[in-house]
Amino acid sequence: MTKTISYPDSTPPAVFTQDELGWAPWLQPLTEAELTERHWAGLVDASRSKSDYFMLLAHDPEVLEARTNADKDIFYNPNGGLPRAERELSATATSRHNGCIFCASVHSRFASTHSKRRDDVQRLLDDGVDTDLGERWNAVKQAAVALSDTPGQFGVAEIAELRAAGLDDFEITDVISTSAFFNWANRLMLSLGEPVPAKAA
């Protein structure tokens, strides 16, 4: 009978943080020796074979490949739409609301780097999604929260708020995609392993 992997000596982080964290899988990732061409295609970038998370997801390579390619376009496509900082804000607010400490750590760092508003980002982590971040960021954050609620609470009122804050419909579509995507990511990260202190360099 297969057993999950446990980390009895690790104390998982108990607060949201912009510090770097590690992540450890509860199920056995594939090893490089087990990878076929189909798995390498699923990893998209060969360097992802160094990540336990992607090597675990590589058990279903077709889904992983599509997910990775969607992820990159939603977050990194520089052609118009929402500025990168606010895509990361949307991912951070979503992760904060769902409770994914690991996802929030990664994307809050990106939000801080791209916005230069580290203190505001930290307030979102410390005080939660009701904190006041100014009109435009509030609209993005509230939209991400409404989308993340189950059943969904996102509707024309949220669209009106986003437009009133100056977002056009291409930007709003990016708010939707980035928050929706983190509802995917949060559920994988939270359920397939646990955050651990960053490995000493």
Partner: protein, 221 residues
Amino acid sequence: MSAQHTDLIDQILSITPGSRLDVLRRHREVARENIQKAYVALFQPRDVTQVTLLERLAVASFVAGLHGQIVLADHYAHSLSQAEDGPVLSALITGEIEAGQTEGPYGIYPAGPLSAENKAGPHYRVGADARKLLGDKLSAALEHAHLLVFRPRDASREALQALLDAGWSTSAIVTLSQLVAYLAFQVRMVDGLTALASASEQPIAANSDSFTAALAAGNSL
């Protein structure tokens, strides 16, 4: 009509080429294509040895129903009822959606300052009668799906052990997890695009290259 569509989201939202939503979606063309590819990978899978198509459709139907996303819930319920042995299962899933209704996200944080944000809520279990018909294996998958949908921060190593103990392999658990998480994504894309479709049109901001594309497309729904 639906035969023209090769994209599920376009199909269920009746998005036509050149319409406003089509222009918005195609602004992230690679994402649009891969969102569909992930759907195909999950529901026209290359490998059904670990998770059968019937199991996939049953879990998807349950998850879409729990979200109250009517259009997607109908889509998956219909797909399930079309499958061999699907109609009986579909009726059972409808009952479990009723039994599993609640509001999320809720759950418990690691002990510490975040404990103040702990929020209690139901821990859904398949009822004894339904379990006899669904079997222990699929029942375990539904219970895990409910956990992921409503209280993802309660996810635990023990929850994965319960899936292993019910007979799911490591690779099956990865597929099931992706399926539930993908549905959580897909539901929200559909919710968001539906809201955009309902909101009155707004002139799209200038100095965007997309502006021209939207104009060229007639900027209409």
